[in-house]
């Protein structure tokens, strides 16, 4: 009979120790890789950003110096912060409203059988699937009042051209137009999935009671779809409130500061002017706005589900 070498026995005990540890603490061990990953790529950067917000630091010149809440006091003296908030509310309010309304209407239109519906839907999804910076660059050229194709088309059918992104008065609506073109399909997709999962019974009951299409939409579809709409709005607002690619690529915040959202301004301060401390403080404000907006939305979504 052969004896088992002591080495192997020791390895076996070690292995069984590990496996029994895992068995006893499954709730800790299995999510650990994800938790560690999240900690490294989410918690640490946010924490560092928060720390920088209380410092004065020009990148490359010395180390961050703690200055307390001076950066946050400076926020109130800086009129580009107020401008950034205004532009942010104007841009996000207009684009989110339009995307939600159009997205819902188009989803309702697609939510029925018609010939070639799959092809139409596939084409319709295209803007959502395209790379933001690439399409923004194309829009930038199309929106040029002198050499852009939009004014060429308008004037060729006898309409007056617009200054589009080149005038402080029209720049935000022009950017909203691009954002709506790009992101409405996403809302449509989410709402369409929601519509497909709705129960059939309430509709049959309503039809038997003699309700018309508008009444069915208003009293049945809309209340049932509300949680989905709010979820879509939440998802979209996360990106939209800190919209960067489209605005930065097309206008960089111009003309002047007419399309400079708070988020874009914080980027300029941190990476254009190298003032990482003040830039971080601005970033914290944007973070809080997005956070509060989403907490409110989530409350609304939960209460909508209770109905």
């Amino acid at each position: 009979m052969r004896t088992v070498p002591a080495e192997t026995t020791r390895m076996k005990t070690a292995a069984s120790k590990i496996s029994s540890f895992v068995d006893r603490r499954q709730a800790l061990v299995y999510p650990a890789p994800a938790v560690i990953g999240l900690f490294l790529i989410v918690v640490i950067p946010i924490g560092y950003n928060l720390y920088l917000a209380f410092t004065k630091w020009t990148i490359g010149l010395g180390d961050p110096r703690f200055i307390g809440i001076d950066n946050f006091i400076e926020l109130f003296r800086d009129d580009r912060v107020l401008n950034g908030l205004k532009v942010m509310i104007y841009f996000s309010g207009l684009s989110l409203t339009l995307e939600l309304v159009l997205g819902l209407l188009i989803a309702l239109y697609f939510h029925r059988e018609f010939k070639g519906s799959e092809i139409v839907q596939a084409i319709y999804i295209f803007p959502f699937a395209a790379t933001p910076v690439a399409v923004a660059l194309i829009w930038r050229i199309m929106l040029n009042p002198e050499i852009g194709v939009l004014n060429y088309l308008l004037t060729s059918i006898g309409l007056p051209g617009s200054l589009w992104i080149s005038s402080a008065a029209t720049v935000v609506p022009a950017l909203v137009m691009v954002d709506v073109w790009k992101w409405t399909p996403m809302i449509t997709l989410i709402v369409l999935a929601g519509l497909k999962s709705l129960p059939n019974d309430p509709y049959e009951a309503a039809r038997i009671d003699g309700a018309n299409t508008l009444q069915i939409f208003w009293y049945i579809t809309l209340p049932l779809i509300r949680p989905v709409l709010i979820a879509a709005l939440m998802l979209r607002s996360l990106d939209n409130l800190k919209e960067f690619d489209i605005i930065y690529t097309i206008t960089q915040g111009g003309p002047g500061v007419a399309s400079e959202t708070l988020y874009l301004y914080s980027y300029k301060v941190a990476f254009g002017f190298f003032k990482a401390g003040y830039g971080s403080a601005l970033m914290v404000v944007v973070f809080l706005i997005v956070l509060v907006f989403n907490v409110v939305m989530n409350r609304m979504r939960l209460s909508a589900q209770d109905i």
Partner: protein
């Protein structure tokens, strides 16, 4: 195909010639064989000209060169972030007038004087005295050379020679004549196109580098004798106002969003009678594949304002990273020395990159092939009379340019320039104290 073969042969012979010429000098070009160096480059005509020849250098020295090229905005951000992280960058392109104060204070610039003086590292025929003195002085800090000039840039008034001749308009030599000529062409139908008089950069911070020539020519300045902002002085306000009015009244629509790419596009489309921008863009205007006005463009210096003609001269330089290792720094120096040698600078000039070396401009080869002598004359004149300080003399150049750019936008939109300039001056003073 035989033609191609001949070119290849000539190329090969030139390579051999260069290698042997280098071997003949005092420098052992093989001394850093096996070293690998990394350069960050801006997408610039000079880079385009030198890039295909890097293999030649690698063969001659045994040094491996990794060149990474980015468009300007990304380039600036990447360069700063990499240098701040203390990474593996050994050399990079820099516009000293934009970034040298910041980079010098941060310790990212290696002084080059010791290398230049060392015959084991620098060939005598590289000839440091051949570079233009102004840009070389601009590429120095506290008396130390921190970069080697690869080009010199000045802005020129470029105009449609054919139209000025056809309508018998005088080429502007004063600001008043500039306005008259711009007015004359605005709205004129030429070959079925409605013209604008002039196109200029108007996009905030990006416009300041061209507007500054008007600032100086009107007698204004960034700062006064006490080092405080001078943006709200009557002369500076006059420059803002003239520039803004010119673009609003006689320029394309949407002037406040014109960067150089939009402005030059409009000129190359044949929609503008004049453009004021950097002389390097000649290579765009004169490219028949891209430009409808190739061969029809004349060039002259900035028209004289109340303070005369005061253009700015700027330049790009190649610099060595202060954070690299001594051996890689020396290898990087060999690369810079080679890239800025007489032959390579002349080649770049032939490709339209205004050279920072006198020998290139004076070379009989260049003179005999020069298709735009007025461009050559205008450029050289501007280098001679130009002001090397083209950015605000502050540590945080981008921030002050941004503040100044907002006044330019207000001027183009016809707002109250004096009030806007006063506000900008206050901001500027505040930021300079910080």
């Amino acid at each position: 195909m035989p033609k191609k073969m001949i070119f290849l042969l000539i190329g090969a012979l030139l390579c051999v010639g260069m290698v042997s010429a280098a071997v003949a000098g005092s420098v052992d070009w093989k001394q850093f064989q096996g070293t690998e160096i990394r350069f960050l480059m801006n997408k610039h005509p000079f880079t385009t000209s030198i890039e295909p020849k890097v293999a030649e250098f690698e063969k001659m020295t045994g040094i491996k060169v990794n060149m990474e090229v980015f468009p300007e905005d990304q380039f600036r951000n990447k360069r700063m972030i990499e240098l701040n992280a203390g990474g593996t960058v050994d050399g990079y392109m820099i516009m000293p007038g934009q970034a040298k104060l910041h980079y010098w204070k941060a310790g990212w610039l290696k002084p080059l004087d010791d290398y230049i003086a060392d015959p084991a590292l620098t060939e005598a025929d590289w000839d440091v005295k051949d570079f233009f003195a102004g840009p070389m002085k601009g590429s120095s800090m506290d008396g130390k050379q921190i970069g080697i000039v690869i080009n010199a840039e000045a802005s020129l008034l470029s105009y449609r020679k054919d139209l000025f001749e056809r309508f018998k308009v005088k080429v502007p030599d004063t600001m008043q004549e500039l306005e008259e000529a711009a007015k004359f062409f605005t709205g004129k139908e030429v070959d079925g196109k409605k013209m604008v008089g002039i196109t200029l950069r108007g996009k905030g911070a990006a416009a300041t580098s061209q507007w500054v020539d008007f600032l100086y020519s009107f007698g204004g300045s960034w700062t006064n004798a006490e080092g405080k902002s001078n943006l709200a002085s009557p002369e500076s306000i006059a420059a803002f106002k003239f520039y803004g009015d010119l673009l609003r009244n006689y320029g394309p629509q949407g002037g406040t969003m014109l960067h150089w790419s939009e402005s030059t596009s409009i000129f190359m489309e044949g929609k503008a009678a004049m453009i004021f921008d950097a002389n390097v863009f000649k290579s765009l205007y004169e490219n028949p594949k891209e430009s409808k006005v190739a061969g029809k463009v004349g060039y002259t210096t900035i028209p004289a304002g109340p303070a005369g003609k005061v253009p700015h001269v700027s330049n790009w330089s190649l610099a060595i990273s202060g954070t690299s290792t001594p051996e890689r720094q020396k290898a990087a120096w060999l690369f810079i020395q080679w890239a800025t040698n007489k032959a390579n600078v002349l080649d770049a000039l032939m490709a339209g990159v205004p050279a920072g070396r006198a020998s290139a401009w004076n070379s009989p080869d260049y003179k005999s092939k020069d298709a735009t002598p007025d461009w050559t004359a205008g450029s050289l004149k501007s280098f001679e009379i130009g002001q090397p300080q083209w950015n605000p003399p502050v540590l945080n150049v981008p921030e002050i340019r941004d503040i100044t750019g907002l006044v330019i936008v207000d001027a183009i939109e016809g707002k109250d320039v004096a009030a806007s300039a006063k506000k900008a001056a206050e901001e500027m003073n505040k930021k300079m104290e910080m």
